[in-house]
């Protein structure tokens, strides 16, 4: 637990991207999903299905 290192943290650095997105993009612009993110959501759905198949075999 690096409390000393953590205490050097600038508050602007933590969450700076989220702050910028909030202030500079409209709600509709924030709603747009990048192609890369859609691929990751698809990957998560494949992971979910694989896990459920494992559950049906072992449980």
């Amino acid at each position: 637990m690096e409390i000393d290192n953590v205490s050097n943290v600038s508050i602007d650095e933590i969450g700076s991207i989220a702050r910028v997105i909030d202030t500079e993009l409209t709600i509709f612009e924030r709603m747009k999903i990048k192609k890369r993110s859609l691929k990751k959501v698809s990957g998560a759905i494949v992971f979910y299905l694989a896990t459920m198949i494992l559950f049906s075999i072992y449980l």
Partner: protein, 261 residues
């Protein structure tokens, strides 16, 4: 394998709030499942397993939707350091709770849970009062202290880890959306340690009932993908109100379960 619709819906609703307000999955869902007639060994390890996967998933998608940025490679960024500190206190807490349970050291459950409920209520109340305060100064020592208190609460089995850590981050000046992302990933890591401990105990004759796992996993996993997106889309001023209000609700829920139900 059995999928129970109302369990899927409950898990989805509570994980949606957990991944977007940083609290409530364990504190809210556990008493409800007990009220539905399920036993502790059907509920507690399954919630830990589910929260381990959904916490990591939610943290991953919070990163993907840019509510927070985590780094695995060196140099580790500062948000990740804060997350590791919070997770560290939680992991130590889980080990202490197992140690206490192993040596059968008992605290007065009602007193401890009342203390946790009042702590959450007070933090929720202060959060509501501070709503108008736009820019809080970063207070790392306060965050470390509240993480330790949250870890202690979890360690003695009183729950309320999420609400205390979440409110602690907000009082320490961390942006609400980022605080949610940090607590989701930290809880995922803490729950991995919890699951490992339960599996270790199960080697010594404890039997875990997995009947609820597919249903809780289904509801929780879907919510862990949708919630980070919801956090990105909705403006931060909404989360500034929702988080302390939900913390107040959690405090009231614990007190209701203790003294009314």
């Amino acid at each position: 394998m059995e999928l129970i619709l109302y369990i899927i819906i409950l898990a989805f609703l509570f994980e949606t709030m957990d991944s977007s307000a940083g609290m409530g999955f364990g504190t809210g869902l556990t008493p409800l499942l007990f009220l539905c007639g399920y036993e502790p060994l059907q509920v507690v390890p399954i919630l830990l397993m589910s929260e381990a996967i959904t916490g990591i998933t939610s943290g991953f998608f919070h990163h993907e939707f840019e509510n927070a940025k985590f780094s695995i490679k060196r140099p580790i960024n500062r948000g990740t350091r804060v997350m590791l500190m919070i997770a560290g206190f939680g992991c130590v807490a889980i080990l202490i709770s197992v140690f206490l349970a192993y040596f059968a050291i008992k605290f007065d459950e009602n007193v401890i849970k009342t203390y946790v409920a009042i702590l959450i209520l007070v933090m929720g109340f202060i959060g509501m009062i501070k709503l108008k305060q736009r820019n809080s100064k970063y207070k790392p020592k306060l965050l470390a202290s509240l993480s330790a208190i949250a870890g202690f609460n979890k360690g003695i089995g009183a729950g309320g880890y999420g609400p205390v850590v979440m409110m602690g981050q907000i009082f320490s000046g961390i942006y609400e959306k980022t605080a949610t992302a940090i607590v989701s990933l930290a809880e995922g890591i803490v729950c991995i340690v919890g699951v490992a401990t339960f599996l270790l105990i199960s080697n010594y004759g404890l039997t875990i009932d997995f009947v609820l796992l597919p249903s809780i996993f289904t509801g929780g996993f879907l919510a862990a993908i949708i919630s980070p997106y919801m956090v990105r889309v909705l403006p931060n001023k909404i989360w500034r109100v929702v988080i302390p209000t939900y913390a107040l609700c959690m405090g009231v829920l614990i007190l209701t379960k203790l003294y009314i139900l």
